[in-house]
Symmetry: C2
Subunit: 318 residues, 2 copies
């Protein structure tokens, strides 16, 4: 199989590239390196079965040309900055919705019929059902990020209906693990490196969140693509557990041998910061089970971050 990974230099994309190459597949990576890092692709670049193109999805000519002869597209590129969405309200629309349209059109042009897409548990908005199943009640969006992801899901679904494509839509919880680049674990680690005595936590620290290890996530995606055979396959990818920001702060500080005072800022942490805890029965029914607990993933990520923040060369060794 010849895979095309958009967002190949990112956290998930680069880990997926390594995995597919280890499984003897051919992989072409596409990334504009706006948040992706070439260091993450150092292992992949050593493989003869790997090609990389630095390009933007909005460069439709390059995208279409590079995708040629591939069998399967992983669309993992996104503006994943939920928190700052309101500072630049057009960014999610441009980078997550319009780009998805460009990708689908490039697939049509190249007669490529299968796509996997990284959506998010944020599409469920402020739900009342936890853990939230894939067929939860019709959602109401709370963030521009969630809105852009449900829009992209809808586009992909309509292309499947209209142009005979097959899709695998994965609604992720937050992912952790080596090559993790942004999110609250990074914020906490950085703050603690700067001031080991106190840690500010946005909001009450009581919102519940689920965290999946990127390695389990990739296992899950590859299994679903292998086993599921609907026209449109939608799966939650999470873990049967959750924690609060407060708990994860305890684990992080513990690993760093620190005992900071936690300071809570008043009110909600940020608009769109919903509880996220997904029902993954559909994935379990395919035979998938995550290997890492949330605590193990938080600690692995803390270890990775403390090492790579001190020594940037460690980025490439993972």
């Amino acid at each position: 199989m010849k895979y095309f990974i958009i967002g190949a230099a990112g956290f998930v994309g680069s880990r997926l590239a390594d995995r597919l190459l280890a499984n003897k597949h051919q992989v072409t990576g596409y990334d504009n390196l706006s948040t992706g890092k070439m260091e993450f692709l150092r292992r992949a670049m050593r493989s003869k079965k790997f090609l990389f193109a630095e390009g933007d999805i909005h460069d439709r000519k390059l995208l279409t040309h590079t995708m040629k002869h591939c069998d399967f597209v992983f669309h993992l590129a996104a503006n994943a900055d939920v928190r700052d969405g309101l500072k630049h309200p057009g960014k999610d629309l441009k980078q997550n919705v319009v780009s998805t349209y460009y990708i689908l059109e490039a697939m049509r042009e190249n007669n490529i019929k299968r796509i996997a897409f990284s959506s998010t548990g944020s599409v469920y908005g402020n739900q009342t059902i936890y853990p939230t199943p894939e067929n939860a009640p019709f959602p109401i969006q709370t963030s521009l990020y969630g809105a852009s992801k449900i829009a992209a899901e809808g586009l992909i679904q309509a292309y499947c209906e209209g142009f005979g494509m097959t899709s695998y839509i994965f609604r992720f919880v937050s992912l952790l693990g080596k090559r993790y680049t942004h999110g609250h674990v990074k914020d906490f680690v950085e703050k603690l490196l700067e001031d080991p005595k106190s840690l500010k936590i946005l909001g009450s620290g009581k919102k519940i969140k689920s965290y999946l290890n990127v390695s389990d996530c990739i296992d899950g995606m590859l299994l679903a693509i292998d086993k599921a055979n609907e026209k449109i396959n939608i799966f939650n990818l999470g873990i049967d557990d959750y924690c609060t920001a407060r708990q994860s702060a305890d684990w992080i500080a513990g690993y760093m041998n620190l005992n900071p005072k936690f300071i809570y800022e008043e009110g909600d942490s940020w608009v769109g910061d919903d509880n996220i805890y997904l029902d993954c029965t559909k994935m379990h029914n395919l035979g998938w089970k995550p290997k890492y607990t949330i605590k193990e993933s938080v600690i692995e990520t803390t270890q990775y971050l403390t090492e790579s923040l001190v020594d940037i060369s460690k980025w490439i060794a993972v």
Copy 2:
């Protein structure tokens, strides 16, 4: 109140303008006249309380400028061509999603906090629950039109969360009545005027559809805007009844005093042609009830079409 109607020269927009003007409100209409007709605004144009600007939503400067000093925005403009979506897959994205973003930004610029939006029962995709309530299971889109409308809904919702706006999202069934411009009733009438002896019906003619009179629809919208007071208010607007294309063809032919032979084309009528029959309990609970039956609306529309197709000056008299 000072209302801003986008899509003011359309079927719903022009009828709404007349109603708001009759209720002594100030109204500014905005329309690019791509499908809207100035004839529909002839009555409104006679009012001193009505202003009209011919402009495209993508002309952001004009849009923002024209919207100034308004209190409430009705966003009724759309590419409403569900059937031919696949012929130009970028059109729904541009005209229904990106434009909604431009409108929301123009509102932000002008500090306008309230918006009503014409969404569609198509956002429910191929549902299993009929009549379909607003909190039906998480939908899977079947048309680019539905995908664009759920995307626009999500954007509006995220703006409400993030920028303190209030929204009224109405999921319409198909609308009928005077100034109706496109859809299957028009197709049937035109075909019968051309060939009174036979009528081709796409698909089996057995899909169920609900039709609401535009006058009832406007009653419903105005009532909901008056009575509902959530941050995000979502209402189905339909009728507690449905018919098949076959039934409506019978009524149309009956009104035209014809007895054509019906010819069914094989297979589904078109991609995204789902059954649509909405549960409107939420609207009923506000005290709203449609006055027209489906049959009455089909016949009113047929009368309007046969008269205006014969004599274009009738367009302005309604």
